[in-house]
Symmetry: C2
Subunit: 395 residues, 2 copies
Amino acid sequence: MPFDLDKLCGDDLFGIQCLPYGIFQPSDGSKARIGARLGDHVLDLSGMFGDAYLSASSLNSLMAQGRGTWSQLRGRIIESLERPRFRDSVVRNAHALNDVHLGMPFDVADYVDFFASEHHAANVARLFRPGTPPLHPNWKSLPVGYHGRAGTVYPSGVPVKRPWGQSASEGGVAAYGPSGKLDFELEVGFVVGRTSPIGQPVTIDEFDDYVFGVNLVCDWSARDLQAWETFPLGPFTGKSFCTSISHWVVPLAALEGARRPLGPQNPIPSSYLRGEVPPWGLDLALEVAINGNAITKPNFRDMYWSPAQMLAHMTVNGARARVGDLFASGTVSGTQEDQLGCLLEITKNGNEPITLSNGETRAYLEDGDETIFTGRALLSNGSMVGLGEVRAIVA
Amino acid sequence: MPFDLDKLCGDDLFGIQCLPYGIFQPSDGSKARIGARLGDHVLDLSGMFGDAYLSASSLNSLMAQGRGTWSQLRGRIIESLERPRFRDSVVRNAHALNDVHLGMPFDVADYVDFFASEHHAANVARLFRPGTPPLHPNWKSLPVGYHGRAGTVYPSGVPVKRPWGQSASEGGVAAYGPSGKLDFELEVGFVVGRTSPIGQPVTIDEFDDYVFGVNLVCDWSARDLQAWETFPLGPFTGKSFCTSISHWVVPLAALEGARRPLGPQNPIPSSYLRGEVPPWGLDLALEVAINGNAITKPNFRDMYWSPAQMLAHMTVNGARARVGDLFASGTVSGTQEDQLGCLLEITKNGNEPITLSNGETRAYLEDGDETIFTGRALLSNGSMVGLGEVRAIVA
């Protein structure tokens, strides 16, 4: 693959405006280390700059350096790409993506999953609790969330194994077997790069000091297991078997131009959920494809709660955030039929299967199905920045 | 403090039959490392044996060695205490507990909290859902559980800071402020010392290969925050501010003599929850004191679900267990009024305050209150083995 720096820095989704971070291992078998993606290449940052924290096999070491270093490093990469005198170094440290192994980008400390789309919450309620109000009384007062399993967050490409577990059967007796309702949930994740003091909430205005970057997240869900187990303590085995994330964490700085005000919040939330600026989301055009069929296209700007509100709520009780924490938005769904973020909503819990281009139908995922999430941020300057894909086959 | 080896190895709760592991830092400022408690002393195991994994500042390195090493190390410690020729080495490596700093014993990977006491589950339901069946339909089919926050598990002695958050107020509008219903939950924890393959459940008969040891756990709970947030995804900020664990992890081998058959399980659970031997619990006599007043004395043998069933359920879906995982039993409550494991049950959600010896009353915990959990295992040979205490002041 020829390395054409000018082309790579151009209007590619992963050009100079994006520069997401990840972990790669070159084909020569040398150890995994931190790289930045540039187009269809990855730049070996430890080779380019030599800082010790860049030789680590997870992004945690970079993240722990703090926001000042995040900003400086991004500046140094951009400078290297723009100035002719650095060109030799860039070329020498560029590896074609096809030639490297991409690894788990960071060690997940705690994983929290929110439920921040009103459209998703209401759609789910209409399916499971028809005739009752679609939102619980708490829903518009706080971003509802729960802790997921950090140890089963895997990078894109790791197959998702159909989970076994219990579900409800006729007569109220539990059935035990493989899930018959395996679903994806399209989510956006936020990676925390700073540890907060014990007992001290992260305020909503400190978001940029704490969040290192953004990724795509697939919250795999076994709907039958989840439905049976979920009362009264919430989802457990129906979610904890696997969560997939993209190989690439897009720096928050790359997404500044994608910030957009969210819709109105009524009632006005508690003081700790209000900041100096009105709640903002990100204009992220997302897409899910199953076996090559694009089946839904939500946009992340349609969420009710903002990422900064999620982080403030997660720590309002004094829970510390840690380097490596991942919090995800919950399923991203919009108002339209082609903007629903999971099969539960798309197929009405399997009752209205979709038809793929080869004529097959899907109520939920079948063994061998490949799901791919992609996304791009729409910047206010008219250009676009990519999010790393999430891809997994049901095994 | 004089070091009397014969006395220490005698019938002390932390004598030669117990030998729990922890992390200590000597007063000379040398680095924290792995020790074994013997009476009111701690033995410097790296000093006694020299193995590299004993110099680590968390038990994870020892746990990762596997069950064979766990067994050998315990045998070597016991041999050192029993044979006169090792006495000099033991004495040289013994530090009085008063002279050392005890640290966080292990790095928590994932933290899962169960709900495995039928008496607790039924008592809670009677308080919050009077007139409905006390157990959800799933309760006797699977050990209900959820993920807690690993990053806020702290060792005994770290003060618990009263959390702020939202609770329900009159008119259904959320109130924001400090919790007015801060509670403890007395639990028993199990520390996982082995990582399982991705996608492969840990069977119920593999329990002894995976569980390194046992500790006491306080699942601090803000009942007002919990009640408001909990639907539909379960507890979040009402629990995630703090979980306290003892400094000491008692090896599973020390508790073999405390195994007891559990009561009958009806209906018979799914096949993955049945093993070669009937479900067993541990005869652990537990106690909670507030400001020096012993207020409750549950026994862990009164649980419905067994520890092995909890681990099997946690991984039935292929979720891997990891070195450092902690799973806790949920509140341990018995059938009697003096066997209830949390203030919610003891004071009937604050409606029937308890009176302390100084005449003060408590509906829930007040600032400055000190809670202490203690426990001892009753072995079939008639002797007893201690569990490390959990102690924290509300700050």
